[in-house]
Amino acid sequence: MSNQIFVIAEHIQGKFDDITFELLGKGKEIASQLGGELVVVLAGHNVKALASQLGAASKVICVESPQLENFSPEAYVKTVNAVVAANKPKLVMTGYTSIGMELSPGISVANNMPLLSFVSELSANGGSIIAVSQLYGGKMNVESQLDGDTLVVSVLGGMFKADAGKVDGSPTVEDFAAPDFSNLSVTFKKLIQPEGGDVDITTQDILVSVGRGIQSDENIPLANDLAAKLGGAVSCSRPLVDSKWMPKTRQVGKSGLKVKPKLYLALGISGAPEHIEGMKDAGLIIAVNSDPKAPIFDYAHYGVVGDVLDIIPALTSKL
C-alpha cells in the first residue's frame, strides 16, 4: 500500500463535474492529515490539457484512448481498476454520482478494498479514516471506522466545498497505458440532450416544489394554483417524476436540476440527500411536512408541520 489519496475525476463533454473539485478539496485535507500524496486519475481522450484545472493535486495519472472519449462503464472500470491495482492507494475517492456509482464497487471487489457509500463526512483520525454515511433517505447518520488500512468512498455531491478544490496549477502528469479494450460488450452510442420547451425552473424566482406528500397526481392542480398566484412555477422531487406525475424538466435534485430561486416552498418533500443537493442554496426555503423530524427542516429557514393538502389551499386563498 502506498500513502496516496486517489480522486477519480469525472467529466462529461470536456467539462469536470463539480464533484471532482469537491473530492479534491476534501482529499487535500485528508492527504495533509495523513501525510499522503493527492493524485487524480483522469481517463478520457485528449484530456491531458484538463490537468491544469487539477492543481489541488500533486500528480495526475492520465489514461488516454479513443475508447475512453465518452464515459462507458465497462471501459472505465477496466481502466480505473488497472490504475488502482498498479498503485495500491490508501484511499480512493469517487462521487456518489451516475459515473462514480459504476466505478466504486469494481475498485472495491477487484482490489479487495472496503467500500463506504452515501458518504457525507470524512476525516482522518491517527492513521485511520472515519466516514459518516447519510442513510435512510437522510434520516440517519452512520459513522464507520476502518478495520484495515485502505478504503474506497462514494461521496454525496454538495457535501464538500468545490471552491477548496478549484485550484489551477501544473501537477505532474504521468501517462498510464490504457488496458486492452478488445471484446468489450458495452458500447457507448450517443448522448441525448434534455428536452426543452417546458418552463425552465432554473431561472424562476419562486418555486412551488411538491413531493410525495401531495399523495396523488390529482392534487397537483393545487400546486399549480398556488404557483400561479405567487407568480412562480411548480417543481418537484424525484418520486413524482418516477411516477410520471410530473415531467423530468421540473425535477429538482442530484439527478434533476440545481435551482437557486429567491423563494423555495418545499411542500411534502422529506428532504432526501438527492433532493437537498439541488435546492439548498435557495434564498428563502420554507418547508411544509407532516413529519416534524423530516430532514428538510434541517435545511429550511422556516418550517410548518402540517398536511400539505390543507396548507396549500390555505396559502392560495390568502393571495
Binding site: 463535474d17 451516475s98 459504476e102 440517519m140 441525448i192 439527478s255 427542516f297 434541517d298 422556516y302 418550517g303
Partner: protein, 253 residues
Amino acid sequence: MNIIVPIKQVPDLVEELEIDSSGKDLDRSSLKMKLSEFDDHALEEALILKDEGGATVTAIAIDGEDVDKMLFTAAAKGADKIIKITGLENPSAHQAAQAMANVIKGMPHDLVMTGVQAVDDRDGQIAVLLAHYLGIPHVSVVTSVKVEGGGVTVSKEYGAGLLAEFEAKLPLVVGVQAARQSPRYVPVAKVRQVMKSATLDEVAAGETNANVGSTVNRFFKPESGAGAEMIEGSAEEQAAKVIQLIKDKGIVK
C-alpha cells in the same frame, strides 16, 4: 430471455426510525418494512420486457421478515419464478451481492435487473457489486431497457436530464433508476390467491467471504429542525404567517 430480478425490503421511511440499545443499528423491532422502491421499478421494467417480447422473470430475495409476502407479491405482478436465499441475516451489501451471485451463477441469466440503490446501502450498491461477483458487465442509473437484436439498448441518466445510450451484449447487470412506467399495482386478494398456487423455492446462500472491512461506530440522527424556525398554529394561521413572511421579505407584493 431469462431475466433475474433481485429485490429487497427496506424500512418504510414514513415511520419514525429508532436506534437500538447498542447504538450501532436501527431498532428493528419497531420497523415497518416495504419493497425498496428502486427494486419495484426494476421488477416493473423486467415485466414490461416480458409483456413486449416474452421473457422468464425470476424474482430472488435474501430471507428476512415478510420476504415471502414480498416475493408472492412479485409473482402476483407477473414474475414466473420466485426464489428465497436462506442462511444470511442482515447481510452487508457485499455479502448480499455475493450470495445473489452464487445463486444466479447456477441459473440461466441474460439480464439481471435490480434497483440502482437502496436507502440502507452502507457499503455500496448491490447492482454493480453483483456484476463484479458474477464477472459480467453492468450499466447502472438506467431509465429504459430495450431488447434489440441479440442484445439490449439501455439509457443511463446523468444530472440535469442528460442521458447516454449504450448498446450491450448479454449477459448484463442493469441498475434501474426508474422503469418506463410507474410500477404496477396488484390487489391484496390476488396476492393471497398466488400464495396458494405459486411455489417459493429456497436456495442456500453459499460462501460469502466478502471483505466489508469497516465497523459501525455509531448511529446518530441528524439534528432535526436545527435549521428551521417553526411556524405554529392551525393550517389557516400557519398559512397566514407564511404569506406575511414572504411579503415582509419583499418576495411577493
